[in-house]
Amino acid sequence: MRQEVFMAGMGGQGVLLAGQILAQAALEAGLELSWFPLYSPEVRGGWVTCTLVIADGEVGSPVVGRPQKMILMDGIAVDNYLDRIHSGGLAIINTSLASGEVNRDDIELVTIPATDIAAQLGSEQATNMVLLGAYVQASGVVELQAVEQALHRVLPERHHDYIPTNVAALQRGAQLAEEQLQ
């Protein structure tokens, strides 16, 4: 098993956090993994991406030219990166900030109005978790529960208040993905 997921968005959207939580979940599931971020150098704002490779053996290259899977947080991310998804791959797109229309028919598509859903759940900040939930569901890379547990590990104690909302977001995302993929 080797799964590559690339995530992209703007600073502040929680791209890196989503990546780290998934990485932690994979670690706790006993998998090998490699995660790395690339971002523009502004202290605030600017673009943010990360790549996570999860494998049940040696990870090999952490750098991936054509990732199998992507989580794209907004329209700019879709414009910049969608092209690169490996044929047969999967894209999770936040349709609150991007249109769901894409010029690729060789990939699977999950479109989630994640920001709106997160807002409904009480916090736009949880957008990344909605998308992550959808991704976990669609990819099956780890159990959703593992991700929920990872939240406890990765979030600093003082942010544990947010965990319930985040868990709800994860679950809602997973649910929507499941519905779409059926």
Partner: protein, 350 residues
């Protein structure tokens, strides 16, 4: 097996040093390795260690020089421009036969450049150390675990050869998170080396740490002694890994992050029917010349992958010595290559 934690390369470098027995850190912030000094500033004071933020990289390496003179296991870390500023200090350390460990998280250059990953400090690391015939022993990890391990191992190596040891990584390795098995922290050695200054000097000859040898024959002797240590290191510390086919058509040479990329690239190439072997030098100086020379006799071509414009390839060519064609593939200025691109290139030249 000790617990594995998800940490960055920077954290691995910092914790690896502490675990290896380092308690003295002198550094100046620079992206992409700021997490190292930050980690040190938090952890060292808790374990009777010293974290000093130097006023500059020039000061940092000279603080390390002073610390090393006392026999302390000392370290500094930086990224490309900062390493450039340490060149005189490194030359002094070599001349005075002092050990230390330094880490270069290479970024795009030249000049201020950018903070993206690069391997364009290859010469700076392996041929650098300023003026004179000295060099840094140089090791290039390719994973977070290996950063942790090598940084820790670097201290006794530096002491053994009384020479700076450089850990050469890059912006990706610095910020990458991977599971890393952390060992217990070793205590620093209690016994000071015989040449160390300070402490109670009663009843022993005074020690002098010096790189001034006015008399050329004496200076030459120092140099020959240093070169002998390099030859010893070549015997004992040359490290590399090999991956891939036993009967390859193409030999791929890459180190650090490029080698990680090539690991996957040669799998792609194999799928396309081209057998490759990847030699990954871990020690860049001493360089695993022989193994490359051996394989070069048996392959059609050598492909060198480096994130620089023709630096690492020279060491490979010096090993291959014309036995077969050697080609380069790579990017620079903060650009990465992908496994797909490398595989394509392999297929092209095969």
């Amino acid at each position: 097996m000790p617990e594995r934690q998800l940490i960055t390369g920077n954290e691995a470098a910092a914790e690896g040093a502490i675990a290896g027995g380092c308690r003295y850190f002198f550094g100046y912030p620079i992206t992409p390795q700021n997490r190292i000094p930050e980690y040190m500033s938090e952890h060292l004071p808790l374990i009777d260690g010293v974290y000093i933020q130097a006023e500059s990289e020039v000061a940092a390496i000279n603080m390390v020089y002073g610390a090393a003179a006392t026999g302390a296991w000392a370290m500094t870390t930086s990224s490309s421009p900062g390493i450039s500023l340490m060149q005189e200090g490194l030359s002094y350390m070599i001349g005075a036969e002092l050990p230390c460990v330094l880490v270069d998280m290479v970024r795009g250059g030249p000049g201020l450049g950018n903070i993206a990953p690069a391997q364009s400090d290859y010469w700076l690391a392996t041929r650098g150390a300023g003026h004179g015939d000295g060099r840094c022993l140089t090791f290039a990890p390719f994973s977070v675990q290996e950063i942790y391990d090598l940084v820790g191992q670097a201290f006794p190596i530096a002491q053994k050869y009384r020479n700076p040891v450089m850990i050469l990584a890059d912006a990706v390795l610095a910020s990458m998170r991977e599971p890393c098995a952390l060992r217990d922290r070793l205590d620093p050695p209690e016994q000071k080396p015989s040449w160390a200054v300070g402490g109670d000097q009663k009843g022993r000859q005074r020690n002098i740490v010096n790189s001034l040898w006015t008399d050329p024959p004496v200076m030459e002797e120092v140099n020959l002694r240093i070169q002998q240590r390099y030859r010893d290191a070549a015997q004992n510390e040359t490290r590399w890994t090999e991956h891939g086919a036993d009967d390859p058509e193409i030999l791929v040479c890459a180190y650090g992050i490029s080698a990680r990329i090539c690991q996957t690239a040669i799998e792609h190439a194999a799928e396309a029917g081209i057998a490759c072997r990847l030699i990954r030098p871990i020690s860049l100086f001493p360089f695993p010349t022989e193994v490359i020379a051996d394989w070069a006799q048996r392959v059609k071509k050598v492909l060198v992958v480096e994130l620089s414009l023709g630096q690492f390839i020279e060491d490979v060519r010096l090993a291959v010595e014309g036995a077969c064609p050697v080609e380069r593939f790579g990017r620079t200025g903060g650009m990465l290559v992908t496994p797909e691109e490398v595989a394509e290139r392999i297929i092209e030249i095969a």
